[in-house]
């Protein structure tokens, strides 16, 4: 199972806790995780990536295994520790402002 961490606003929107588990078919990529996430939680559509273009929203970042994966192509394979569920895939609302 893939372990996904959502930012606080999306936890309240989807009515879930900090971390959730998803069944994602391989290859596990950012795109396939978001496809699975949005299929189960349709209220999250448009809140992480654009409805139409599937582009990541500007203030959203993706992190896993100590790496910033935000700028990887959405079909790039994710680290093995994410695939095995050892590490979480973190969706983060970037800090903006002061």
């Amino acid at each position: 199972m893939i372990r996904v961490v959502l930012p606080p606003h999306l936890r309240t929107l989807a009515r879930v806790g900090r971390e959730l588990e998803l069944q994602v078919d391989e290859p596990v990529t950012t795109g396939s995780i978001l496809d699975a996430l949005e299929a189960i939680y349709p209220m999250l559509r448009g809140t992480i990536r654009d409805h139409v273009t599937k582009q990541r929203r500007p203030f959203i970042r993706f992190f896993a295994c100590g790496q910033d994966l935000s700028h990887q192509p959405p079909d790039a394979p994710l680290p093995e520790d994410v695939v095995t569920g050892t590490e979480t895939f973190m969706i983060v609302g970037a800090i903006a402002g002061g």
Binding site: M43, T47, F59
Partner: protein, 371 residues
């Protein structure tokens, strides 16, 4: 017994204020959607328990929430607002062309007769409609054909902030956009015409007879006289007696004719309310005195309403969607401020009391009168 439900959208959540018909004691519920910007909440005239709410943040974009029980519980519905057709362009601040980009929903206006039909006014300016309770949205693209390439954003963005449905003619809709102007459809939103004749822009527009390019801040109409419209423009308070075909100024003796909201008394179609603001550079009341101005003659002659409102050192603003009236026998008037106060008057504006004092900045106020 009648009661009142006030729907308040703020920078950091929504609040629902309820009272009986006396409007002396209030219950405050909230924050709902804590931490989110709530640009607008509105109830269906056909089913007062059906509410719609516009929820957004810069991180996650737009959400639409729906309630079927008067705001006790909510469910997110569709948030996909996609413009019809090829991406067209409008004028940017510097006069160059800029592609239409969806940013947020400013206004939700439920149908007068069908709880599942609701209109959404959005930034960048366009009108969307749902006929399935918000489960899907379709643009009415004819609006952007009304010289949309010449529309330009105001300082707050190019927002469609006012939607008025004519209660006597289901095909007639009025909308207003900052800073494009007012528009009317007579065929249920398929085609639109600018209705800005008579509006003045002293120095901004090179063509004084331009059909679009006017910074209309708010429109109001009394349901018994749908041909009479009142307008708070960037500067100038205006009136039309022919459904927007022509406008004339009614600012009269106002201390400033700059402002944002405008409202009409529930039972007196010639009684109008505005909140003068000092200027477009100084978004606070003149002289630090928060005063609602009321005209009982449809404009020109205005009286200051001050009882219960701060008359010194007050530097809040009242935004364009933040004033509303109830329809009880003694008409209630309500407005919210950027300082987080929601003021209410149960006697047509003669006396005011804060319902709440310390909310986040108030973006919108709507009132439901419940039988």
């Amino acid at each position: 017994m009648s009661s009142v439900r006030v729907l308040v959208g703020t920078r950091k959540g929504a609040f629902i204020l309820t009272s009986d018909g006396k409007r002396k004691k209030w219950d405050v519920s909230g924050p709902h959607f804590a931490g989110w910007e709530m640009y607008h909440l509105n109830g269906s005239p056909a089913d007062p328990n059906r509410l719609y709410a516009s929820q957004s943040t810069g991180w996650h974009g737009q959400i639409i929430q729906r309630s079927n029980d008067g705001g006790q519980t909510w469910e997110p519905v569709d948030n996909k607002f996609v413009y019809e057709g090829e991406t067209s362009t409008h004028q940017w601040y510097d006069g160059t062309q800029h592609p239409w980009e969806f940013k947020r929903v400013w206004r939700l206006e439920p149908s007068l007769t069908d709880p599942d039909t609701v209109y959404a006014g959005v930034e960048d300016a366009a009108l969307f409609r749902s006929t399935d309770g918000g489960q899907s949205w379709q643009e009415l693209p004819g609006l952007r054909s009304a010289k949309g390439n010449l529309w330009q954003p105001g300082a707050g963005g190019m927002c469609l902030h006012t939607i008025i449905l004519d209660p006597t003619n289901p095909d007639r809709i009025f909308i207003a956009i900052s800073a494009a102007g007012a528009f009317r459809s007579d065929d249920a939103g398929q085609t639109w015409k600018p209705i800005n004749s008579g509006l003045k822009i002293q120095y901004e527009l090179p063509d004084p007879a331009a059909e679009v390019g006017y910074c209309v801040h708010c429109l109001a109409m009394h349901p018994s006289r749908p041909g009479v419209l009142f307008m708070q423009k960037h500067w100038d308070v205006m009136r039309s007696d022919d459904a927007g075909e022509s406008w004339h100024e009614i600012s009269g003796n106002l201390p400033s004719d700059f402002g944002f909201p405008i409202a009409v008394h529930a039972h007196e179609p010639e009684t109008v309310y505005v909140v003068p603001i000092k200027s477009d550079l100084e978004h606070f009341p003149p002289d630090g005195k928060l005063r609602v101005y009321r005209s009982r003659k449809g404009g020109e002659e205005w009286e200051a309403l001050t009882k219960g409102l701060p008359q010194s050192d007050c530097y809040v603003n009242v935004l364009r969607t933040a004033m509303a009236v109830d329809t009880l026998e003694s008409c209630g008037v309500y407005f919210g401020t950027t300082g987080g106060q929601v003021y209410a008057s149960a006697d047509s504006g003669d006396n005011w009391t804060p319902i709440v004092r310390d909310l986040p900045a108030v973006l919108s106020v709507e009132v439901q009168t419940l039988k």
